[in-house]
């Protein structure tokens, strides 16, 4: 932003008050708006230039004033000018836009994670602490929030205009978006990708709260079970612990501490274990056989819902030792809190 901050504040306040401009409620918003005003200025300049040329020539060279046209073949200099100058301006737009894109789509490492599942026609948010919300999302201000999103059926798209963020929510793969809210308040969530009959009904509200209020909200709306705990139950009930027992003689690899590590696969390649990999390894195990293990794991395609997969992933993510697996071997019922990973943000 190279506009004077005072002028900027004034401009934004005036525009917001006139309802021609969305509120700026995230840290990204001012950057987006700066680019917007640059592009707007470029458009108006271009339009004025073309308009001025047309008007001037129309008056100066109309038939009454200029009965005989002069033959002009062209001008390499002029044509080079209007090739190079627009090209330069467009390249500035490209670089500026690319910098902004990388800023919006590269979550900071300290971001807290919330899962979002899109389905016809609702947004389901799942906080790590087990809070579930439908068509609503509570977030604290002043803290980067990353959304890990997936669709259970068709393409959806998660958009918060006042935060200037949007990302497609895709069936079969996780996509992420992050933001840091700056102003407490409620803002629209829209589904912007056409997704069938109730597309325009797939809207919600994001509520940005002060950290204290957010703390209060998480305590009041908890279901008592964190996602990792739900995952732990599921892990036991699906019989995963039979193979992934964590012991040396187990038929499946030890999952403790696997999240975030580089894994050697049987086909010789190496993969980074992240949310997407874990999900895919549960659904299509035959394509992700860990080196040293037989390809005996059955597919769980169609047996676990996206919500359940999120729980499982969250369980594996938060499993730095194989203590929990040993426990679930003993009993498939647990009401104890799963141990938390060092990086996990406690709600």
């Amino acid at each position: 932003m190279h506009i004077s901050p005072v002028l900027w504040q004034f401009l934004v306040k005036w525009l917001t008050a006139s309802a021609l401009f969305p509120r700026e409620a995230s840290t990204i918003a001012p950057y987006m708006d700066a680019l917007y005003f640059f592009l707007l200025a470029m458009t108006i300049l271009g339009l004025v230039l073309v308009g001025a040329l047309l008007t001037f020539f129309s008056i100066r060279y109309r038939k009454e004033r200029n009965p005989v046209a002069t033959h002009i073949e062209g001008s390499t200099l002029l044509e080079a000018t209007w090739t190079i100058i627009p090209l330069a301006i467009f390249l500035v737009c490209f670089v500026w836009g690319a910098l902004l894109y990388f800023r919006i789509y590269s979550p900071p490492v300290n971001a807290m994670n919330i899962y979002v599942v899109g389905k016809q026609w609702m947004w389901k948010a799942e906080h790590p602490g087990g809070q579930h919300e439908i068509n609503a999302l509570h977030v604290p201000i002043g803290k980067p929030v990353q959304l890990t999103m997936i669709s259970q059926d068709v393409f959806h798209s998660f958009s918060i205009p006042d935060f200037r963020v949007k990302r497609e929510v895709i069936p079969g793969r996780y996509s992420t978006v992050w933001f840091e809210a700056t102003t407490p308040g409620t803002y629209h969530i829209f589904c912007t990708q056409y997704c069938g009959t109730q597309h325009s009904g797939m809207i919600g509200e994001v509520t940005a709260l002060t950290p204290d209020d957010y703390q209060k909200w998480t305590q009041e709306s908890t279901s008592g079970m964190s996602l990792a705990q739900n995952g732990e139950r599921l892990f036991a009930s699906m019989g995963c612990n039979a193979c992934h027992s964590g012991s040396a003689a187990a038929r499946g690899p030890n999952l403790a501490g696997v999240y975030g590590s580089k894994l050697q696969l049987a086909n010789g390649s190496q993969v980074l274990v992240n949310d997407a990999y874990l999900r895919d390894a549960i659904l299509n195990p035959s394509q992700h056989v860990t080196a040293g293990f037989a390809p005996i794991m059955p597919t769980y395609q169609g047996q676990i819902s996206e919500d359940g997969l999120i729980d499982l992933v969250e369980f594996v993510k938060n499993m730095p030792t194989n203590y929990r697996v040993q426990q679930t071997l003993v009993t498939s019922q647990s009401d104890q809190t799963a141990p938390t990973a060092s990086g996990m943000v406690k709600p």
Partner: protein, 557 residues
């Protein structure tokens, strides 16, 4: 402007003038003579009528959409019906109007004449193209009558393959068939332009209208088959579940997006390039000057066509393509904007030191220049990666592509229809009414779509049946504009229809233009030229024309 007689109209004496006794319109009689014709001009007229018919059907859906959006509540129709409205609007306008409009009507009529040929290379394939177009149109109407389809014109999977019980296959068939019409038209043009130019008609003596249709034809021939493949895969996925796009079977829903946009982005250039050709002709004629930098304009058409194939993924910046491929596609998108900028400035400088008059086609061309400039520059917003995140899938994008395709293309189409109407029918239309229509269209258009840019930045998503209260004011403005726009489109229907019987006799060259088509009688003979013309001058050579006016036109039968 209207009182000062700026007109250069060169009409014959109306008291004695008659239409030529023998021309392509009266060469044969009866419905069958039209349905089995091989004459490119008659086929062009068949297209003109059928395209106009579909334009007004598509326009009616646009009207219904705007009417529903007058209020935030879903009060006019149910959401399913609304979704069917915008799907029909999209399918009809894109596949049955915008893609074929200029090439199939004006291009069909003019390209052989402009090249000095008697017909297109393959007259029967040309007729077949029209039948395919009509078959595509019939399937579209069938999908509509049977209960509609609500996929949106983009047929996004897995919505279209697994989640809708409407007539997806019927609509897909329609697009598949109509696509072949477009492939054949492109093929016909390419062969004609390569093989059938008259003696002396070198590549760089061709009118720019031919150049731009040539570039569009390349896109039609190379791009449309990919759409056909994507559509077939959708149908197979829907019927037997082959799983190409289904993630639960190892398919990839993004693959459909790649295939679809590989055609549908170049399709934008299939729509706009021929329109740009029209603008070159019109601006040159009413400036009495050769187009400024003819070669640059010709090459920029080809450049747009080539670059146009490498920008499709800019429709997927938020869809999970890798950040680096997004970079590449954003850069290429910026590059494709440059030839468009070149064209705009070349047209503007064509006016310089010209001798300008402002007949109706010129007004439409000026409208095109203004609206296309806005449309093009707002495209840079969407090509700019970060900005795209906020703007895509909102009304901003709706406004942007309507500026390019409706503001640009449709203005160009109307400019062309008015420009060549005297040649096609032998008659003029009422000048003041047509100017009124041009101005009404321009005002109505801006009132309709400018508010949508603001709506988009505010965040209103596209394809919304109901919307939050705070967006209403701008939506009301937009609907009011659409009403004005509707009047602007109905007016030409009325007076052009009227002129068919009562219009003044136009004569051979009412605008005193230089193209070969203006050197033959209006309406032309079935065989266009009695003697093969020899092109002995550059395109747009007004000095040649000045010497020629003294001589008798050689080709009147």
């Amino acid at each position: 402007m209207s009182t000062s007689t700026t007109t250069i109209l060169n009409l014959p004496d109306q008291a004695t003038a008659t239409l030529p006794k023998r021309n392509y319109l009266n060469a044969e009689h009866g419905l069958l003579s039209w349905l089995f014709t091989g004459d490119h001009k008659r086929i062009a007229m068949l297209y003109l009528f059928s395209i106009t018919f579909f334009f007004f059907i598509g326009g009616a859906f646009a009207g219904l959409i705007r009417l529903e959006l007058l209020t935030p509540q879903p009060d006019l129709v149910a959401s399913d019906t609304y979704n069917k409205f915008f799907t029909m609007h999209g399918i009809i306008m894109i596949f049955l109007f915008l893609v074929p409009s200029v090439p199939a009507t004006l291009g069909n009529f003019l390209i052989p004449i402009m090249l000095g040929a008697k017909d297109l290379a393959f007259p029967k394939i040309n007729l077949l193209s029209w039948y395919l177009y009509m078959a595509g149109g019939t399937f579209t109407l069938a999908a509509l009558v049977l209960g509609g389809v609500d996929t949106g014109w983009t047929f996004t999977t897995p919505l279209s393959t697994h989640y809708l019980n409407t007539h997806v296959i019927t609509a897909a068939t329609a697009i598949f068939i109509a696509g072949f019409s477009s492939i054949f038209t492109g093929l016909n043009f390419i062969v004609t332009i390569h093989r059938m130019r008259a003696p002396g008609m070198t590549w760089f003596r061709m009118p720019l209208f031919v150049w731009s249709n040539y570039a569009a034809s390349i896109l039609m021939v190379l791009g449309t088959p990919v759409l056909a493949i994507a559509i077939v895969l959708v149908a197979l996925e829907r019927t037997i579940g082959i799983g190409v796009f289904d993630p639960t079977k190892g398919g990839d829903p993004l693959l459909f997006q790649h295939l679809f946009w590989f055609y549908s982005h170049p399709a934008v250039y299939i729509m706009i390039l021929p329109g740009m050709g029209v603008i070159s002709e019109v601006i040159s004629t009413f400036s009495r000057k050769r187009v400024f930098g003819y070669t640059a304009v010709a090459f920029s058409s080809v450049a747009i066509a080539l670059f146009g194939f490498f920008v499709w993924a800019h429709h997927m910046f938020i869809m999970g393509v890798s950040n680096y491929s997004a970079l590449v596609f954003s850069l290429l998108t910026m590059l494709v904007a440059v030839p468009s900028a070149i064209k705009i400035f070349n047209w503007a400088f064509t006016l310089q030191k010209g001798s300008l008059t402002f007949e109706t086609p010129m007004l439409y061309a000026f409208g095109f220049m203004g609206l296309f400039t806005i449309g093009g520059l707002t495209g840079v917003f969407l090509g700019s990666l970060g900005m795209d995140i906020h703007l895509t899938e909102t009304y901003f994008i709706v406004a942007h592509f309507h500026f390019v395709m409706v503001g640009g293309m449709l203005m160009a189409f109307l400019a062309g229809v008015h420009f060549w109407w005297p040649k096609m029918t032998g008659r003029m239309y009422p000048e003041s009414l047509s100017k009124l229509a041009a101005v009404t269209t321009f005002i109505g258009f801006n009132l309709t779509f400018l508010p949508q840019f603001i709506l988009g930045y505010l965040g209103m998503p596209r394809r919304y049946h109901s919307y939050p209260q705070e967006f209403q004011v701008l939506n009301v403005l937009s609907t009011a504009g659409a009403t004005v726009l509707g009047v602007g489109y109905l007016l030409p229907m009325i007076y052009l229809g009227w002129s068919l019987k009562y219009g003044a006799i136009a004569g051979n060259n009412p605008w005193q233009a230089t193209g070969l088509e203006w050197q033959i009688q209006s309406p032309p003979l079935t065989e266009n030229f009695l003697v093969t013309p020899i092109m002995d001058h550059e395109a747009y050579d007004y000095e040649w024309l000045a010497h020629k006016t003294e001589q008798e036109v050689t080709t009147v039968g």
